[in-house]
């Protein structure tokens, strides 16, 4: 077997992977990126509306800072997030955006003078200051206290990904395209690279690396209706799971985006609502204020999606040819605004629905959108169980999103995590730990195992079809592990998935075409996806509470007393059909923001006894500082985090009006 | 790293377009002068004398016409050589291009291919025409030209030339605009459609004008066939004579 040696192997060529690769390469480590597709085609490109970073430049953002971004994110996560990591994230996000601005992303800028905006269905005029003219502007997004989503029209992800890819090319980082990692090579405690399949020739080869970073995105394709790209099958998370050592965190935390077009399931950005768009029902009634008087259409995604499904269930959905849906109305924003700031939305409506959103309503219904869960890492991005394995972006559970991610925080996470994890990979490689002694025998053993697995699929004659089983899995997940979950349905899903897993061992291939053989690809991916689906369904079944996007109709309350814990799933043995679940408690006593009401959604929850104690502790810590203490000092007194960041990312962020 | 590229490419590209533009302007002007025959033999006689310099020097110098013919020939040669760079240079390229034309349905690519074909034809037709102009500059006039057209059977050459040169020129002008000043902005598509419509109108106009003139020369030539070789004597004093 051909073996390629490198210092750093990054699996995944999206924003997170490429930024981590650039970070490692800059520190002098040879880095190779593997990608299923050409890097610029990664799913990062599909991020439309914006990237959250508290620059505070435009009027709607004035007064914004890391503290507000932090609080929004923690509330959004329904207190499931790791608050230290959220602090690291919100502190670094402005730096990430400024770095990208220097590298060439054409962020939309503040235009001085009067503008007409749409708020709460009404036109209003605001005036931007001269001082802010030409700085990066931002738009309103759900669940945020300020206008914080920096954007490039509605092609934000595209512009970011192209700039990032071009910088990676400039840095001379090779991207091995159409390569799929099938297994991580490890000796039980140390990850040493991956066995990789060439998706053009079908050949297997091995990459041996001192550090391996998984940045393969989410696993949305375990669902039938998903906004995700077809490559988002979670193979990175799956191969980590298959080590039996690395754990996956919070796999049951799946986000459903409120506005996917019906029936294609293609996303139209949250920016539609951020810019003033409304949700209407069959009667043309704007229903969100009835449910969420505070944030209305701009509550967090989990809440809006749930309210939409609730409203449909109450009989207010539009009967369409593809089932029930609701309307997204952006007509009130006007032609000029749509053609400038929502042109991708217009294009999607034109090509897939044959309508013009300037004149017509857009049929929407919530669809699977994001995986908050993923490979559990520490704050440096390394797996706590498998040394040398790192993860960044959606494939990781670094845990800034907890049980619900805020819109615009995903692309922000990719780049920020890429910056931080890239650095920690370099630190790891520079340290004695980074030394790697790996025997060819070990590499051959893993290669042989994968070769046998592929041969096993090819020679099976049980008559099962990979495509058919994939469809059944997706239907099960969309039907039983969706927005509203219930113990019975989840139990049913777990059983079905177990059955599917047995059937997947009996797949027969109809084609033995040389080369990649798409049918073989579907077959081996299915076996891995079933494990991820099972972690999701089983985790959801066990979690007898409602938190963020995980809503149990039979346990509708958030239960901090029992469930302020992160689910950790490992796969005990290759032949197992259920994961082993373990739980990691979130310590309220170290939290800067103890659990409470999110400001939207249900107010009712079961509190943890530590919550009150921590609140007192916080008051006591802040009291001696008095009112004169600045926000940095106050924050420092509650939860110091700067020491967790790489030194060059620790400095404060300058904002308009600050002394430089 | 920057490799240094010579200025030659830029100059050749510009020169190809400029020579083409000049040739188009020439041929359009040529059409108006030639079609003076539609206004009568006298008008055409006056035009031909004018180009022999009679208004300027008091008597005609046909050599001036030869000189102009040579200049045009040189311009054509320059244009042809520069354009040849863009023609398929090998049988492989020719095959690739042909396959491309077979696979892709695209109007402007077809227009360009029409230019390649007409350009190839003009490669033979223009020298044939210019040869007579340069060697027999004095034989341009209402009767001399008409005799050549009819009695010497040159109308076949001229008919072909008329068609090819105007197709080549009209498409050329449209493509020249697109090449150097393609419309931009929200109206770009509409402007281009107008340009193209303009191109067809110009083409139709010159084909009509040219056909009418050619038919007139043929008629005169037919009527004058018995006394072919005889030169035209204007009824009145030549226009512009001192």
């Amino acid at each position: 077997m051909e073996i390629i040696y490198t210092d750093v192997l990054v699996i995944g060529g999206g924003l997170a992977g490429q930024r981590a690769a650039i970070g490692a390469k800059r520190r002098g480590h040879e880095t190779i990126v593997l990608s299923l597709v050409p890097a610029k085609r990664s799913h990062s490109a599909a991020a439309q509306g914006g990237m959250q970073a508290s620059l505070g430049n435009c009027l709607g953002a004035s007064g914004d800072n890391e503290d507000i971004h932090f609080a929004d994110t923690v509330r959004g996560s329904d207190w499931g997030a790791d608050q230290h990591v959220v602090r690291m994230f919100t502190h670094t996000a402005p730096k990430a955006i400024r770095e990208l601005a220097a590298w060439g992303v054409p962020w939309n800028r503040v235009q001085r003078g009067e503008h007409e905006i749409t708020v709460d269905g009404q036109k209003r005029t605001i005036a931007e200051s001269d001082a802010a003219h030409g700085l990066i502007t931002s738009r309103n997004f759900g669940g945020t206290g300020k206008w914080r989503a920096c954007y490039v029209s509605d092609g934000t992800g595209h512009a970011m990904l192209y700039t990032m890819s071009n910088q990676a090319i400039a840095a001379g980082i090779p991207v091995h395209e159409r390569m799929e990692a099938l297994a991580l090579i490890h000796d039980g405690g140390r990850c040493c690279g991956a066995i990789v399949r060439n998706l053009q020739s079908g050949k297997l080869l091995a990459y041996v690396a001192r550090a391996t970073c998984i940045a393969t995105g989410g696993y949305g394709r375990i669902y039938r209706v998903s906004t995700n790209a077809v490559i988002n099958e979670g193979m990175g998370a799956a191969i980590a799971l298959e080590t039996g050592i690395a754990s996956l965190g919070n796999m049951e935390a799946i986000q459903f985006h409120p506005t996917a077009i019906v029936p294609a399931g293609i996303l139209v950005t949250e920016g539609c609502r951020g810019d003033g768009g409304l949700l209407l029902d069959a009667a043309g009634h704007r229903f969100m204020p009835d449910y969420e008087p505070q944030k209305m259409e701009l509550a967090s995604r989990d809440v809006v999606s749930r309210r939409m499904e609730e409203h449909i269930a109450a009989g207010h959905g539009v009967q369409g040819r593809f089932g029930e849906h609701l309307w997204l109305d952006i007509r009130l924003l006007g032609k000029a605004h749509i053609e400038r700031n929502l042109r991708e939305v217009k294009e999607i409506c034109h090509y897939f629905l044959g309508i013009d959103p300037v004149r017509d309503l857009i049929p929407v219904r919530p669809a699977q959108h994001y995986s908050m869960g993923g490979i559990r890492t520490d704050h440096r991005g390394q797996s706590p169980q498998l040394r040398g394995l790192f993860a960044a972006g959606e494939s990781a559970c670094w845990d800034i999103h907890g049980f619900n991610r805020l819109g615009g925080n995903s692309v922000a996470e990719t780049v920020v995590a890429g910056m931080i994890v890239g650095d920690s990979i370099a630190d790891f490689c520079d340290s004695p730990e980074g030394e790697l002694q790996v025997s060819t025998a070990l590499v051959e053993e893993f290669g042989q195992r994968e070769r046998q697995r592929l041969a096993g699929i090819g020679s099976g004659n049980g008559g099962e079809s990979a495509f058919e089983l994939t469809r059944l899995m997706q239907d099960t997940m969309t039907g039983n592990v969706g927005i509203f979950r219930h113990g019975d349905r989840l139990r049913e899903a777990v059983d079905t998935l177990q059955e599917l897993q047995c059937r997947a061992a009996n797949i027969t291939l109809r084609s033995s075409a040389p080369g990649a053989n798409p049918e073989l690809v579907a077959a081996y991916r299915l076996q891995r996806m079933l494990k991820l689906a099972q972690c999701t369904a089983y985790g959801a079944l066990q979690r007898t509470e409602s938190r963020g996007a995980h809503y149990r109709a039979d346990y509708p309350r958030r239960n901090d007393g029992e469930w302020l814990r992160r689910t950790l799933a490992t796969w005990p043995a290759p032949e197992a059909t259920l994961p082993s679940l373990d739980y990691e408690a979130l310590d309220i006593m170290t939290m800067e923001l103890p659990p409470g009401w999110r400001g939207y959604g249900d107010k009712d929850h079961i509190a943890h006894p530590d919550t009150e104690r921590r609140k007192h502790q916080i008051s006591a810590a802040l009291a001696p500082l008095g009112d004169s203490a600045d926000r940095y000092t106050r924050q420092q007194a509650l939860m110091p985090f700067e020491h967790l960041l790489p030194p060059h990312l620790r400095r404060r962020n300058q904002r308009l009006g600050d002394e430089s | 790293m920057p490799k240094t590229l010579s200025a030659l490419s830029a100059r050749m590209d510009l020169l190809q377009s400029l020579s083409g533009l000049l040739l188009v302007l020439f041929i359009w002007a040529h059409m108006f002068f030639e079609s003076s025959i539609l206004l009568g033999e006298d008008a055409m006689y006056a035009v031909s004398r004018m180009f022999e310099g009679e208004p300027l020097f008091g008597k005609p110098y046909p050599l001036l016409v030869s000189a102009a013919g040579i200049a045009v020939f040189l311009l054509v040669a320059v244009h042809a050589v520069l354009a040849l760079r863009k023609f398929p240079g090998s049988s492989r390229q020719y095959q690739l291009l042909n396959r491309h034309l077979g696979v892709i349905r695209h109007e402007d690519t077809t227009l360009w291919y029409v230019q390649v074909i007409t350009g190839f034809c003009l490669f033979f037709l223009i020298p044939a025409h210019l040869y007579t102009v340069i060697t027999q500059p004095e034989n341009i006039g209402p009767y001399a030209s008409a005799d050549r057209v009819w009695s010497e059977r040159f109308w076949i050459v001229y008919a072909l030339l008329l068609l090819t040169v105007h197709v080549h020129a009209a498409i050329g002008v449209y493509r020249l605009v697109m090449k150097w000043y393609a419309p931009t902005g929200v109206q770009a598509g509409r402007t281009r459609a107008r340009l193209k419509r303009g191109m067809w109108c110009i083409l139709a106009f010159f084909i009509l004008l040219g056909t009418a003139s050619l038919l007139t020369y043929m008629r005169i030539g037919y009527q004058h066939a018995d006394s072919a070789g005889e030169r035209y004597r204007p009824a009145s004093a030549p226009v512009g004579a001192r």
Binding site: R98, W103, L135, S153, E177, Q200, E347 | M12
Partner: protein, 249 residues
């Protein structure tokens, strides 16, 4: 309210696909016809997947975002380059012929290696912001200001998704394999417009001032007419040509 046109009678589609697997020595390029019943709102993405799942599992094609954003699924659809994922079958006749994009290395059937070509183009034209000490940029301070209008004009050109349709539609690219194509020339214009890029016109001339660059373009306008993102390619190339003539000649 529902303005989506309803199609009453289901058509039977004949989809002819130019098939070839270069990894199989026995494979010869040939057209294979698949028949399938048209469904509501069927795109070529749906149709091709259905063919693969129910008729021929070896059929190769590329889709990623299936939303017209990533540029993976460029192919020749009835003689016109376009994105298959957002092509609705109801806008096509019953007989649909699909072929891989020409001008790129064939991976198999409808799958071509646009990624390799585009990476080569990026490396050759250095499609990134050239600025001294870029890796030491101060990211703690306020960002450099930019005119809002300029940012939007850069984005207008940045919208290219490198799908390869312009290369497939280009007669010049067919004859000259080293031609950078509209995608490359557009990149030059994008970085030329960007004040963060310190390169001069002379630097750009060194990159595209010859027959493999802007002077190779024969203005066939296939790029302009088949760009799925409606980029103003003809106007950009015309402008670049004028600038490069002014610089070089």
């Amino acid at each position: 309210m529902n303005r989506i046109p309803v199609q009453e009678v289901r058509r039977s589609l004949q989809i002819r696909i130019l098939r070839h697997n270069p990894h199989d020595p026995a494979s010869k390029p040939c057209l294979q016809t698949f028949e399938l019943e048209e469904a509501e709102s069927m795109t070529l993405f749906i149709a091709l997947n259905e063919i693969r799942q129910t008729m021929d599992p070896s059929l190769q094609f590329d889709f990623v975002c299936r939303a017209g954003i990533c540029g993976s699924c460029g192919m020749i659809i009835n003689g016109r380059p376009g994105l298959a994922c957002r092509t609705l079958t109801r806008n096509l006749p019953e007989c649909i012929t699909l072929a891989p994009l020409p001008g790129f290395e064939l991976i198999g059937d409808l799958s071509v290696n646009t990624g390799k070509w585009m990476r080569g183009m990026s490396e050759r034209l250095e499609t990134w912001v050239h600025q001294r000490d870029l890796d030491r940029a101060d990211i703690d301070q306020l960002e450099e200001r930019m005119e809002p209008d300029l940012a939007e004009r850069i984005y207008e050109l940045e919208r290219c998704i490198e799908c390869g349709c312009c290369i497939a539609a280009c007669g010049t690219a067919r004859m000259r394999e080293d031609f950078v194509g509209a995608v490359g020339l557009n990149q030059i214009m994008r970085f030329r417009l960007d004040p963060r890029d310190e390169r001069s016109d002379a630097d750009f001339y060194a990159l595209v001032g010859d027959e493999s660059g802007v002077f190779g373009c024969m203005t066939l306008l296939g790029c302009e007419d088949y760009c799925p993102k409606d980029l103003p390619l003809a106007a950009q190339i015309a402008f670049l040509r004028r600038r490069m003539v002014a610089t070089g000649a």
